[in-house]
Amino acid sequence: MSNLTLDPLLLAIAAPLALALAIALGLPKRWSVRLAYAGFGLPALLALYVWWSYGAQVQAHGYAFLSSYSTGLDGLGIHLALGLNGISLPLFVLAGLVGLAAGLYAIQSGAERLKLYLMLLLVMQGGLMGVFASVDVFFFYFFHELALIPTFIMVGIWGGRDRSYAAMKLTIYLTLGAMLSLVGLIALYVKSGANSFDLIALREVIAARPLAETVQHNIFGLLMFGFGILVSLWPFHTWAPLGYGAAPSSAAMLHAGVLKKFGLYGLIQIALPLLPAGVAHWAQVLALLAAVGNVLVVGLITMAQRDLKQVIGYSSVMHMGYAFLGVACFSVLGAGGVVLLMVAHGLSVALLFLLATSIHHRTHTFDLTQMGGLAQRTPVLAAFFVAGTFASIGLPGFANFWGELTIFVALWKFSHVLTVVAVSGVIISAVYGLRAAVRVFFGPPTGAFAIVAAAHPPSDLSWNEKFPALILLAALLFIGFWPQSLSAPLNATLTAVYTAAN
């Protein structure tokens, strides 16, 4: 890249990281907070800019904004290659928007040791932008880990109940998942003979010389379980509700909303196009685990939860089941549905985690049996929460609807029985979602909360809390009413990549 125009992708990655470094080197607190607005705002603005101008950009190898930087490992075929295609664009936008909301919510939270908190969030934000902007598979993994480490620390320091145990469990599970997927990626690198981690080069080499069937089976198995653990595939999901339950709100928003999508994104962007025979081999297993495990079993477990954060945590595990089902379909329609659902779920789960914390500030408990009647005192909060719940259930008008609908249509071709199971999951999620909303906001205040509420009447959402929630809700509705803004480039890329693979 010799031209002087700034690379928007590199800037979106580097700006938060540079700010985090500045804070680490001892920026005073007042400046840290002020500049943090820029650190979270800039990636979001750049994400909107690339979304806006994506169609007008010149595309090379199916990627817009393609650029490459050397880090000294060219000999091993590793270099920082950045670019966006139709699959990564929606997720890049998601990372920018959720990052901004999480950052704004963190700044207004006034957490203890706020500087360190913001620094870790900025590192996470930089990593997240990098995950979805990377064309090089090595850096795709690398940025994921960069974003993952702050999560462990944030759970450990600012976490709630059982934080020490939760941080440890999170670390061990996610390291195992990351290591398995790393071995899978190394296997891809060595076995393809491309001697490069660059996804474009890998695609070309494998298109010319497809991998042997057994090799594909083995590598896809590694990637499926490696990425699967990271996305909380049943029965490796137990870290998720525990971790989200303990995580501070902004960390939970960024992890559940964006970072967790890494594994699904890896499956759709890397594994499916490169390993078609591997997918065919494992599709039955994956679909069965997802439909019975994630959707049905975890769905029923969610219904039994009494803790608001656990409900949201488990529901997020359950919704990942739909995404896995879409992956198992191995079709343009299925994969497209997964990407739409990933964006929609990312926005809605981040919104719900944000509101859950706001509810906790007013009730001082997450226990659903100890609340009630909050809607009379805090109508705006109630409206937001009910909207978030509707989005999460998948009501038309919200982005989630399109994702789930597309997946169900694709799934019908794959298996009728599993489609019935999956659709019944929607009823389950309606039951627990609406029940949680009712218990928090309607009916008379129960138990200890009645006394607390009488003594200190809870106030409604302040603008500082409303604004991040508004960003997320607006994005959900925008995509809900105009899904084509994402699905057009998505469809173009998926058709090109998947027809080449088949």
């Binding site: 000999g75 960069l146 620390i153 440890m168």
Partner: protein, 506 residues
């Protein structure tokens, strides 16, 4: 002997090539002389003299790595062999010496001990380590290795008022002597086999690695040579702390003064791996014998090191056992290097990453330790992040790199080793490595957790826990050293620059 032959041998004595070692020896002697000559009040400058001496040699070594200046080939009639890799490892040992001396200034200040001899021995051992990296002959190898080992006998028991230090010294002495004799016996068997006039390809100089490799290639299934090879490998396995010769590690690491523990963990282990890489190349005709042994050894070392480290409370024992597991990872690289040339670079990069991260951790340990150097518990790290954020940050970066967490240098080392192992097709070993890496997260994480996450201890329990010694203030040189180590660990994680070219150019 024919005088012209002696002349030819003497002409090959290229003293310039071992200039750094000679200089180190001179600085070591000057230190002793200065201690006698100078009045006591000036003795506090002596560590500075040692440091300055080593620091002055490093630039000349780095210059000699440039293409035009690189010395390559055999010198001293085949006793030494200089190559690009051996030059790089000489820089490695010099850097190690600087860091050990700096740690020495912290740890020795807490003891009432003569100080100068410590630096003297460190310099002599460093010179021997550097010779070891270039040795191309069993006589050279054994003499250099014994110089190192004898130096360590003294260093390990340097805190002679501490019973644990003395115990460690005794254990290291007995087991070290045993391993030396095993190594020597192996060398003698190889000498006997390769010098046998009845054998094809016998040689007049069977101790020379090149000659020996030629003999082994001509006799790929000689029983005597096979026994010799196994014994030599066992002797080296003791130095690197590989299973089943790792049993001395926890006790000796705990008893030895912290700088010496660091020196053992990094210097001694790196020397062992340099030898091992040379020997694996020499014994390549016996790969049918060495590879299965090394494979079993690597798997057992990885599992033992990580599982044993899980239950440790003393950080010196913990870092010792984690060092055993690192020896396992490095062994993976050595095994891969037998078939994949790229793995040589992986081992060297791993060693550098290990050097930087280990000294970051040891540097923090030296500051947290009290007057009783052997008593360093994980519980002593509670609240470190609040009291000394700088030390806690360095500790977290060092431990993260040892655990192999991206974006730190240790991760890149592990990645390169994994790529090498995968290319060489040892999938089973890779699975063991992945499992042990996940296990290792647990104990590294508990250490970080102790330093960072506030936990409330019930008052009844507080008496049972031994009270934490006061933290040592960080002096300017140590601040610079720890800051540089932490920065390098992060930087090497995502920008390898020229090092990357060196790695890939194989």
């Amino acid at each position: 002997m024919d005088p012209t032959a002696l002349q030819a041998i003497a002409a090959n004595n290229d003293w310039v090539t071992i200039f750094p070692e000679l200089l180190l020896g001179c600085v070591a002697l000057v230190l002793l002389a200065l201690e006698i000559v100078l009045p006591v009040k000036y003795h506090s400058y002596l560590p500075g003299v040692a440091l300055f001496g080593v620091l002055a040699i490093i630039p000349s070594q780095i210059i000699s790595l440039r293409p035009g200046f690189l010395l390559e080939g055999d010198t001293f009639n085949g006793l030494l062999h200089q190559s690009h890799d051996s030059q790089v490892m000489r820089v490695f040992f010099l850097v190690t010496a600087v860091l050990v001396c700096l740690l020495g200034t912290v740890s020795l200040a807490k003891q009432r001990m003569p100080h100068t001899e410590f630096y003297h021995i460190v310099l002599v051992v460093t010179a021997a380590l550097m010779l070891l990296a270039q040795s191309n002959h069993f006589v050279m190898l054994f003499v250099a290795l014994e110089t190192v080992t004898i130096g360590f006998y003294i260093l390990v028991s340097y805190f002679r008022t501490s019973p644990l230090s003395l115990e460690a010294g005794l254990k290291y002495l007995i087991l070290g002597a045993l391993s030396s004799s095993i190594l020597l016996f192996g060398i003698v068997l190889l000498y006997g086999a390769a010098g046998n006039l009845m054998r094809p390809g016998h040689t007049g100089s069977p101790m020379n690695f090149d000659e020996l490799a030629g003999f082994l290639a001509a006799n790929p299934h000689n029983f005597l040579a096979g026994v010799g090879i196994v014994l030599v490998l066992s002797g080296v396995a003791f130095k690197i702390g590989a299973f089943p010769f790792q049993i001395w590690v926890p006790d000796v690491y705990q008893g030895a003064p912290t700088p010496v523990t660091a020196f053992l963990a990094v210097g001694s282990k790196a020397a062992g791996f340099v030898i091992l890489l040379t020997l694996v190349r020499t014994f390549s005709a016996y790969a049918w014998l060495t590879l299965p042994i090394l494979t079993l050894m690597a798997a057992a070392t990885l599992l033992f090191g990580n599982l044993a480290a899980l239950t440790q409370h003393n950080v010196k024992r913990l870092i010792g056992l984690s060092g055993v597991s690192h020896a396992g990872f490095l062994l993976l690289g050595v095994i891969a290097a037998a078939t994949v040339p790229m793995a040589f670079g992986a081992v060297y990069f791993y060693l550098f990453a290990y050097l930087i991260a280990s000294f970051a951790v040891f540097g923090v340990m030296a500051h947290v330790a009290g007057p009783n150097d052997a008593d360093q518990e994980i519980s002593h790290y509670a609240g470190l992040a609040r009291e000394r954020p700088f030390l806690a940050l360095v500790l977290a970066i060092g431990l993260g790199s040892l655990a192999g967490i991206p974006p730190l240098a240790g991760f890149m080392g592990k990645l390169f080793v994994f790529i090498g192992v995968f290319e060489s097709g040892h999938y089973g070993l890779l699975a063991v490595a992945v499992v042990s890496m996940v296990i290792s997260i647990y104990y590294y994480f508990s250490w970080i957790r102790a330093a960072f996450f506030e936990t409330w201890t019930p008052p009844a329990n507080a008496e049972a826990v031994s009270p934490r010694p006061a933290l040592t203030p960080v002096t300017v040189p140590l601040f610079v050293m720890l800051g540089l180590l932490a920065a390098c660990t992060i930087l090497l994680g995502f920008y390898q620059g020229p090092l990357g070219d060196w790695l890939a150019a194989r």
